[in-house]
């Protein structure tokens, strides 16, 4: 079954064609990588899928429902969450709070119950806290729950962002360059974490530059160049695709 289906997705910024008629599908429980040179339109694609920018044309459907141009918070509610290329944590909030606030759309207590602190409110707060700790454990940050998140080292911030994305209880997670700037050991850990996400039943789409990561974990690879999809297939197919080689290495080779 396909969780996500993208048809002819196009986004123009003024005269610039960021992405042009991109189409691909992501099977439930799979890991898909989106690769391509810088400026290929990968992040724009993510922005269109998560409602941060509105596509110019085309259709995004999730679980067979069209969700093109949906608002970001609605997308999360449906089960799509994401991380950012340049980490966007709530820097002055603690690690735990970052994950707690992510359960916002899965909780419901209102103003009144917060003021009178009734039973339902207390139970919900308790559950939020426990789940948040669980998610922190998943990414290995359970010992840092009281640290101010802006003070975490870079790699931990990246992992916290993933915990935050998972805390929204998504079916589809979009990771924007999860291993960028990491050393080989951190990269290996991150690959493990991504596999763990799939074991939890999440579908993962990631933007990635590290070919070892891409070839190592993805089932399907989508290659973008100048906003256009030039290839799609399994790691083996992509490795042999002349168009991809050309896009990465130039025409002479």
């Amino acid at each position: 079954m396909y969780l996500l289906e993208v048809r002819d997705l196009t986004k123009h910024f003024g005269g610039i064609r960021a992405i042009e008629e991109v189409r691909f599908r992501a099977r439930e429980g799979s890991i898909t990588s989106v690769i391509g040179p810088n400026g290929a339109g990968k992040t724009t694609l993510f922005n269109c899928l998560t409602g941060i920018t509105r596509p110019t044309k085309g259709v995004v459907s999730f679980l067979n429902n069209e969700i093109t141009g949906i608002k970001p918070d609605k997308a999360v509610k449906l089960g799509i969450s994401r991380t950012f290329q340049n980490i966007r944590l709530f820097r002055e909030m603690s690690v735990l709070e970052n994950v707690m606030v992510s359960q916002h759309c899965r909780t419901r207590s209102g103003l009144l119950s917060a003021i009178i602190k009734n039973k339902a409110f207390k139970n919900e707060e308790q559950a939020i806290r426990e789940k948040a700790l669980e998610y922190l454990e998943l990414v290995g940050l359970e010992n840092y729950s009281d640290t101010v998140s802006g003070n975490l080292p870079y790699g931990s911030q990246k992992r916290l962002e993933i915990a935050r994305a998972v805390a929204t209880e998504p079916r589809l997670i979009l990771l924007d360059e999860p291993t960028a700037g990491m050393n080989p050991q951190e990269t290996a850990e991150m690959m493990g974490l991504i596999r763990k996400l799939r074991e939890l039943g999440k579908t993962v789409i990631l933007i990635e530059h590290d070919m070892k990561v891409v070839m190592g974990i993805s089932e399907n690879i989508v290659v973008l160049d100048h906003g256009v999809k030039i290839a799609e297939g399994t790691p083996e197919e992509i490795k042999r695709n002349p168009l991809v080689i050309e896009a990465y290495l130039g025409k002479e080779h």
């Binding site: 918070d73 999360v76 709530f90 606030v101 992510s102 207590s109 003021i115 994305a165 929204t168």
Partner: protein, 397 residues
């Protein structure tokens, strides 16, 4: 925001260049020359000499000043630590601290002068106002420069309901609060499409429009003359008009305000506000409807300003547009920033300081606004995060 963070790091490039160090003589001469046309040669010379002395003293003692600053900082830290210990410590010690505080606050009218109680009542009204503004600026990170508008609407609602329709305090209170909250929504709906500075200026405009309406709608508000003869509140058939009674009355509302706002801050609503303040795009990407939550922040903040307004009108038994100028908005903002954006106890302290200080400086009344102005500049340069070091003021958008 991440973007401004990048901007800031860009700026640092030219910081590495050695800055020019001006001599005290030159600085004193320059400032006195600027002063010269305004007060003549004699005053300018006096200014020159005193500036020169001041700068030399400052330079000579700057080493000591630093030590003094460190000492003060350490003192502040230890006070905060103790506060935190009370907060986080065992229930019992917290309860004891709170009860002591309550007994003290309760006992004040028994030994304090009327004048002092009067000042405290005013401080209480400002605490409520500043806590309300803190929700908008400190929690949700939206700079509101026209907050006084809601204070004015609250005060005028009660004044009009009471004097025109003869509605008493208790039935008028919910009506006024509903009206203010509604006006919070009305302003927020258009304003929230705007970012940062644009939002600030539109809220400022809203504040001015509200004041001008009250000032010019003579048939309803009697214009600049104001509305007098407003009834004080009554409790069990008794008018709360004696100063000490009104003190307790205000104290009750202050405690209620702080209690409720603390609870809301610790809920998912409060967390959502903080997330929006930290990074709006990230907040939307974890499923927070940023538009609605900004709306709630505006309306919830306005609610408290309205309460303060009603209490103010009932205390003074008189309202006029003069009490609701832009300077009032600035003063409330100063309380929030001085106390530390987002910090509830800090803002209580900030409000009390800014109400008390001018009262203590009565002898030098003329200079207090000058002191407030320079104080703001110095605060931003040396301690932008306020006394309680909540959060330093961040981007308004």
């Amino acid at each position: 925001m991440a973007e401004s963070g990048i901007q800031n790091s860009k700026f640092k490039i030219q910081d590495s260049k050695p800055g020019k160090i001006h001599s005290p003589f030159f600085i004193a001469l320059w400032l006195s020359l600027l002063f010269l046309p305004f007060k003549g040669i004699k005053a300018a010379s006096i200014l020159f000499v005193s500036l020169l002395l001041l700068l030399f003293i400052f330079r000579a003692f700057s080493g000591y000043a630093k030590i003094l600053m460190d000492k003060l900082n350490a003192m502040r830290e230890s006070i905060i630590e103790r506060f935190k210990a009370v907060y986080a410590g065992s229930e019992a010690s917290g309860m004891i601290a709170y009860s002591l505080l309550f007994v003290f606050l309760f006992a004040i009218p028994f030994f304090a002068k009327d004048y002092f109680i009067d000042v405290l009542i005013l401080a209480g009204i400002y605490i409520i106002l500043a806590q309300g503004l803190n929700i908008v600026v400190g929690f949700a990170g939206l700079l509101n420069l026209g907050f006084v508008a809601f204070y004015a609407i609250g005060a005028y609602s009660y004044a009009l309901l009471n004097t025109k329709l003869g509605i008493g305090f208790w039935p008028a209170l919910p009506l006024s609060l509903a009206l203010v909250t509604l006006s919070g929504f009305v302003l927020a709906v258009p304003a929230l499409r705007l970012k940062g500075d644009y939002l600030a200026i539109v809220t400022l405009g809203f504040g001015e429009i509200v004041r001008l309406v009250f000032n010019n709608w003579d048939s309803l508000t009697k214009g600049p003359n104001g509305i007098g003869g407003i009834e004080p509140p009554h409790l069990f058939e008794m008018h709360v008009s004696r100063l000490s009674h009104y003190y307790y009355f205000i104290l009750f509302f202050v405690v209620l305000t702080v209690f409720i706002i603390r609870r809301v801050k610790a809920s998912r609503i409060g967390r959502a506000w903080l997330a929006i303040r930290e990074d709006e795009i990230a907040a939307a990407s974890i499923g927070i409807n940023t538009i609605s939550y900004k709306l709630y922040a505006f309306a919830f903040g306005a609610f408290w300003a309205g309460l303060a307004g009603v209490l103010f009108a009932a205390k003074m038994q008189f309202v006029s547009p003069e009490s609701f100028t832009f300077m009032e908005s600035v003063l409330i903002l100063c309380m929030v920033i001085l106390g530390g954006l987002g910090s509830i106890p800090g803002i209580i302290l900030g409000s009390v300081i800014l109400v008390m200080l001018p009262e203590m400086l009565r002898e030098v009344q003329l200079y207090r606004m000058i002191a407030l102005g320079s104080g703001l500049v110095l605060l931003m340069i040396f301690r932008p995060q306020g006394i309680f070091g909540g959060k330093s003021v961040s981007s308004g958008g």
